[in-house]
C-alpha cells in the first residue's frame, strides 16, 4: 500500500509542472514555488525514513507460526535513539524555518507594508471585492470588472478592500492569496514575467455564488497595455 501511495505521490508530483501553483509566472510566485519544493523535499526525506522502518519492522516482526506463543522480553528504551529522533527533526525544521521566515518577511512586507515600502515605480491598481465580482481601478481612473489587465515586467501593487464580506484575492500563477476585508485595506505586489492569460479566483468562502467569483488576468506587452488602458 505504501509503495503504491508513494509512487503515486512521486509520479503525480513530477507531472505537476503543469500545475498552476508550480508554474510560476512572476517573481513572487517564483519564491513561493521554490519554498514549496524545498519543504516538499525535506518532508519526503522524513516520509521515506518512516515508510522504510514501517515496512521493515512489519515484515520482520510479524507473528509467524512458531512465534505465536513467544513473549518478547521487555526492553528499556534507548536514550540515544530517543535523542536522535528529537534532534534530527529539529535540525530539519531549522533548515526549513530560515528560508520560511526570510520569504515571509520579503513577501509580507509587500503585502501589508506601507505604500512607500515598494519601489516608487510600482503601478497601483485598486481592487474592490464584492458579492460576487471584482472591480479593478487603474491609475488613470479606468475601471474594469472581472478582467485584470497588467503590463509584463512591471511591478504592480494592489490595494484591496471589500464592500461586504471577506473575500480572498488569488492568481495561482502569479502570487499567493491576500484576504480582502471590509473596512480595511490590504496590499499585495508582484511583477509578472510572462505574457498570457491567467485564472484569478476568490479563495475565501463568501456566500451563495462564491464559486462564480472569478476573474481573468491578462498580462500583455507594455505597449498593448498602454493602448488598452487609454481606451474609453
Amino acid at each position: 500500500m505504501n509503495k503504491r501511495v508513494l509512487s503515486f505521490f512521486v509520479i503525480a508530483f513530477l507531472t505537476g509542472c503543469q500545475m498552476r501553483v508550480l508554474n510560476p509566472k512572476s517573481d513572487t510566485a517564483d519564491t513561493l514555488t521554490n519554498l514549496i519544493y524545498l519543504s516538499f523535499g525535506i518532508m519526503m526525506l522524513v516520509l521515506i525514513v518512516v515508510f522504510v522502518l514501517f515496512v521493515y519492522f512489519l515484515r520482520k516482526f510479524r507473528e509467524r507460526g512458531k512465534a505465536k506463543f513467544n513473549i518478547p522480553p521487555d526492553e528499556k528504551e534507548n536514550k540515544w535513539l530517543e535523542i536522535t529522533w528529537t534532534i534530527v527533526p529539529v535540525l530539519l525544521l531549522a533548515i526549513l524555518a530560515v528560508p520560511t521566515v526570510k520569504a515571509t518577511y520579503d513577501l509580507t512586507s509587500k503585502v501589508s507594508g506601507s505604500a512607500g515600502g515598494s519601489k516608487g515605480d510600482a503601478m497601483i491598481v485598486e481592487v474592490v471585492g464584492q458579492q460576487y465580482n471584482w472591480k479593478f481601478t487603474y491609475e488613470n481612473g479606468k475601471e474594469s470588472y472581472d478582467e485584470l489587465v497588467l503590463p509584463v515586467d512591471q511591478e504592480v501593487q494592489f490595494r484591496l478592500t471589500s464592500n461586504d464580506v471577506i473575500h480572498s484575492f488569488w492568481i495561482p500563477n502569479l502570487s499567493g492569496k491576500i484576504d480582502v476585508l471590509p473596512g480595511e485595506m490590504t496590499k499585495l505586489s508582484f511583477e509578472p514575467r510572462e505574457e498570457g492569460t491567467y485564472q484569478g479566483k476568490c479563495a475565501e468562502f463568501c456566500g451563495a455564488e462564491h464559486t462564480l467569483m472569478r476573474f481573468e488576468t491578462k498580462v500583455m506587452s507594455q505597449q498593448s497595455f498602454e493602448n488598452w488602458v487609454q481606451e474609453e
Binding site: G16, I36, M43, L47, F54, K177, T186, A203, A208, H210
Partner: protein
C-alpha cells in the same frame, strides 16, 4: 425537480421532501421493531441510566447515526463535483453551501467528538480500576446535552434552514446582515448546547483520573489512553469556553443587533481569532485520544510494553501545550504582518517534533515484538503512514509564505482529511473493534472487519490524495463546480470514486453488526490477550466491576500477572464508589433546552421564557434531589 409543492406547507426543495419521507418510513420501521421485539423496557433502561458503559455505548451509537448523515452529505458533495459544470439534483449555490457546512460541523462536533468521548466513557474507568466516572449523574447530563445539540443542529435541515456559512462560520458572512433567516442560529445553538456537555465531560474525566485510580496505580503507571484523555480534558476545559464566548457574541450580533464582528467598532477578524483559539486546540482534542488508542492497541498486538512510555506522555503534553500557540496559522492570509506570521509558522513546525517522537516510539514498539494483525491493529497500522502524510503536509502548510498558495485550496482539504480521518476516525474504528467486547460482550467478525479496513483505506487515499494536486492546480475549497479549463476533472473524478468506496466499506460494518449479534457467541473477559485492567472484568463490563479493587504494582499490571501466572492482588484500601441511579431528569433537561433554543432560533419570546423557566426549575429540582446527600450523611455518621 428542484422544488416540490407540498400541500399546506408550500414550495419545498425536493431533497427535504425525500428526507421527510425517509425519516417517517425509518421511524415507523424502528417503532415497529422496538414494539414487536419488546425492546421498549431496554430503551427506557438506557434513557434513565447513569452507567458509564451504557452511556458510552449510546454516544457511539448516536455518532454512527450522525456519521451516516455526514457521510451522505459527503456523497452529495462528491457527486456534484464528479464532473465539470455538473448540475446534480439540487446541490448548487446555497444548497451546496448548506451541505458542506453540515458535513463539516456534523463530522467534527457530532461524530468525531462523541466517538472519542464514548470510547473514553467505556474504557477510561475500566483502565483505571474505577467503578464508574466520578460524577455519573453529570455524565448522563453531558450525554443528553450532546443529544440535544445534535437534535437542534439536525432539525435545521428538516425545516429547510440548514446553516450555510461553513463550519467555521466566519463573520461577517455569518451575521444577520449577510445571512438572514434562522439558518445560522441553528449552528450557534446546536454547538452551544452540545459544547456545554463536552465541558462537563472534561471535568468528569479529570476528577475520575485524579481521584478514582486503583490503589498503586500511580500516574506513571496509567495506560496511555487514560493519559491522553486527561490531557485532552484539560484542552477541552481551556478551549471550549472560548467557543462558548465566540458563539455568544455571534448570537448577540445576530439576534440583538450588537456589532462585535462588523460595523465601525467591530471587526470580523475578532471572530477568526476567537474561533481558532478554540479551533486549533480542538483538532488536538480530536487527535490526542486517538493517539492514546493507537498506543494501547499497538502495544497489545506487539505483545510488548509501549516503547518510551515517558517520552510518549511528555509528547502528548507538549502537543497539548503547543496546540494553544498556533491558532493564527489559520489566518496567514489575513495580513497580520510578517512578525506574527513568522512566529506562528515556527511554533506550528515545532509540533512536528513531539508528533515525530510518538511515531518513532510506535514503530519501535513493534520492533522485536510479535506483531499480530487483528482488525484493531490493522486500523492502527493503516494510521501510521496515513497520518505521517497528513503530518508532512502540515509542516508544508506551516511555511507561512508558501501557505499563501495552499490556503483555502483543496490542498488544505486534503491535509485535514488525512489528519482527521487518518488519525481520529481510524483511531475511533480501532477503538470500537478493540473494546467492542467490553461494550456488548461479543466480538466483531474479524474477516468482515478486515474488508471494512481495506475498502476504507483504499477509498480514503483515492479520495484525498488527488485533492492535494487539485489544490495545487488552483481549485479553491467550498466551490460547487469547476470548468473543463481548470484541469482538475480527472483528479475530482478519482476522488469521487474513492468517496463511494469509503461509503461502500461502511456497508461491511452494518453487515458485521448484524452477523455478530445474530450468529456469534459471547466472549470471555480477555479475548485479545490484553495488558490493562479493562480485560480483567467481564464482557460486557458489569456496573461497578471492581469489587474488590485490585492492587497495582507496575505498568500493564494485568499482563505481568498473566506472565507470572498469578492473580492480581486485591487491595484492602477502598476507593470512593460513585453512586448509580435511574433518573429521567437528564432527558427532560435536554428537552427543555431544545425548546428554549428553538425559541431563540426563531425569536419566539414566549417560548424562550417557558424554556428558561423550565431550565431554571431543573436546577432547583436538582438542588433538592441530590442522590449523594444521603450517602454522605451515612458516611459521616459511621
Amino acid at each position: 425537480m428542484n422544488g416540490m409543492n407540498v400541500p399546506f406547507i408550500g414550495e419545498v426543495p425536493s431533497d427535504i421532501v425525500v428526507s421527510w419521507i425517509v425519516t417517517i418510513l425509518l421511524g415507523a420501521a424502528l417503532f415497529w421493531w422496538l414494539t414487536t421485539r419488546r425492546k421498549w423496557p431496554l430503551v427506557w433502561d438506557y434513557m434513565t441510566t447513569t452507567d458509564n458503559r451504557k452511556i458510552g455505548t449510546m454516544y457511539i451509537l448516536l455518532s454512527m447515526v450522525f456519521f451516516i448523515r455526514g457521510g451522505i452529505d459527503a456523497m452529495f458533495i462528491r457527486t456534484q463535483l464528479a464532473i465539470p459544470e455538473n448540475d446534480f439534483w439540487v446541490f448548487q449555490s446555497q444548497k451546496y453551501n448548506e451541505v458542506f457546512t453540515t458535513h463539516g460541523t456534523v463530522m467534527i462536533f457530532f461524530v468525531s467528538m462523541p466517538l472519542l468521548i464514548g470510547l473514553m466513557n467505556i474504557a477510561v474507568p475500566l483502565q483505571l480500576g474505577a467503578n464508574d466516572l466520578a460524577f455519573p449523574y453529570l455524565n448522563a447530563i453531558s450525554f443528553w446535552l450532546f443529544v440535544a445539540g445534535g437534535v437542534i443542529f439536525n432539525m435545521a435541515f428538516f425545516f429547510n434552514a440548514a446553516p450555510n456559512a461553513g463550519w467555521t462560520s466566519y463573520a461577517p458572512l455569518a451575521t444577520d446582515t449577510f445571512t438572514t433567516g434562522p439558518n445560522n442560529n441553528y449552528y450557534i445553538f446546536g454547538l452551544q448546547v452540545s459544547g456545554l456537555g463536552t465541558i462537563f465531560t472534561a471535568i468528569n474525566m479529570i476528577v475520575t483520573i485524579f481521584r478514582l485510580r486503583a490503589p498503586g496505580m500511580k500516574m506513571t503507571r496509567m495506560p496511555l489512553f487514560s493519559w491522553a484523555t486527561l490531557i485532552t480534558s484539560f484542552l477541552i476545559m481551556i478551549a471550549f469556553p472560548v467557543l462558548t464566548i465566540a458563539l455568544l457574541l455571534l448570537m448577540f450580533d445576530r439576534i440583538y443587533g450588537t456589532s462585535f464582528f462588523l460595523g465601525e467598532y467591530g471587526d470580523p477578524v475578532y471572530w477568526q481569532h476567537l474561533f481558532w483559539i478554540f479551533g486549533h486546540p480542538e483538532v488536538y482534542i480530536l487527535i490526542l485520544p486517538a493517539f492514546g488508542i493507537f498506543s494501547d492497541v499497538i502495544s497489545t498486538f506487539s505483545r510488548k510494553r509501549v516503547y518510551g512510555y515517558t517520552s510518549m506522555v511528555v509528547a502528548i503534553a507538549l502537543i497539548g501545550l503547543l496546540g494553544f500557540m498556533v491558532w493564527a496559522h489559520h489566518m496567514f492570509t489575513v495580513g497580520l504582518g510578517a512578525l506574527a506570521n513568522s512566529i506562528f509558522a515556527i511554533t506550528t513546525m515545532l509540533i512536528a517534533v513531539p508528533t515525530g517522537i510518538k511515531v518513532f516510539n510506535w514503530l519501535f514498539t513493534m520492533r522485536k515484538g510479535v506483531v499480530r494483525i487483528t482488525t484493531p491493529m490493522l486500523f492502527s497500522l493503516g494510521f501510521i503512514p496515513t497520518f505521517v502524510i497528513g503530518g508532512v503536509t502540515g509542516v508544508m502548510l506551516a511555511v507561512a509564505a508558501a501557505d499563501y498558495q495552499y490556503h483555502d485550496s483543496y490542498f488544505v482539504v486534503a491535509h485535514f482529511h488525512y489528519t482527521m480521518i487518518g488519525g481520529t476516525i481510524l483511531g475511533a474504528f480501532a477503538g470500537i473493534y478493540y473494546w467492542y467486547p467490553k461494550m456488548t460482550g461479543k466480538m466483531l467478525d474479524e474477516k468482515l472487519g478486515k474488508w471494512h479496513f481495506w475498502l476504507f483505506i483504499i477509498g480514503f487515499h483515492l479520495t484525498f490524495m488527488p485533492q492535494h494536486f487539485a489544490g495545487l492546480n488552483g481549485m479553491p475549497r467550498r466551490v460547487y463546480t469547476y470548468t473543463w479549463e481548470d484541469g482538475v476533472f480527472l483528479l475530482n473524478f478519482v476522488s469521487t470514486i474513492g468517496a463511494f468506496l469509503m461509503g461502500a466499506s461502511m456497508l461491511f460494518v452494518a453487515w458485521n453488526l448484524y452477523k455478530t449479534h445474530r450468529l456469534t457467541d459471547p466472549v470471555g473477559a480477555d479475548p485479545w490477550d490484553g495488558r490493562t485492567l479493562e480485560w480483567t472484568v467481564g464482557s460486557p463490563a458489569p456496573e461497578h466491576p471492581f469489587q474488590p479493587v485490585p492492587q497495582i504494582n507496575s505498568i500493564d499490571a494485568y499482563w505481568y500477572s498473566k506472565v507470572e501466572r498469578k492473580r492480581l492482588p486485591e487491595s484492602e484500601e477502598a476507593r470512593p464508589s460513585p453512586i448509580a441511579i435511574q433518573t429521567v431528569a437528564p432527558v427532560l433537561l435536554a428537552g427543555v433546552l431544545i425548546v428554549m433554543s428553538v425559541g431563540f432560533i426563531y425569536g419566539w419570546v414566549w417560548m424562550q421564557i417557558i424554556g428558561g423557566i423550565a431550565a431554571l426549575g431543573f436546577f432547583i429540582y436538582r438542588v433538592f434531589n441530590d442522590e449523594r446527600k444521603a450517602v454522605y450523611r451515612k458516611e459521616e455518621e459511621s
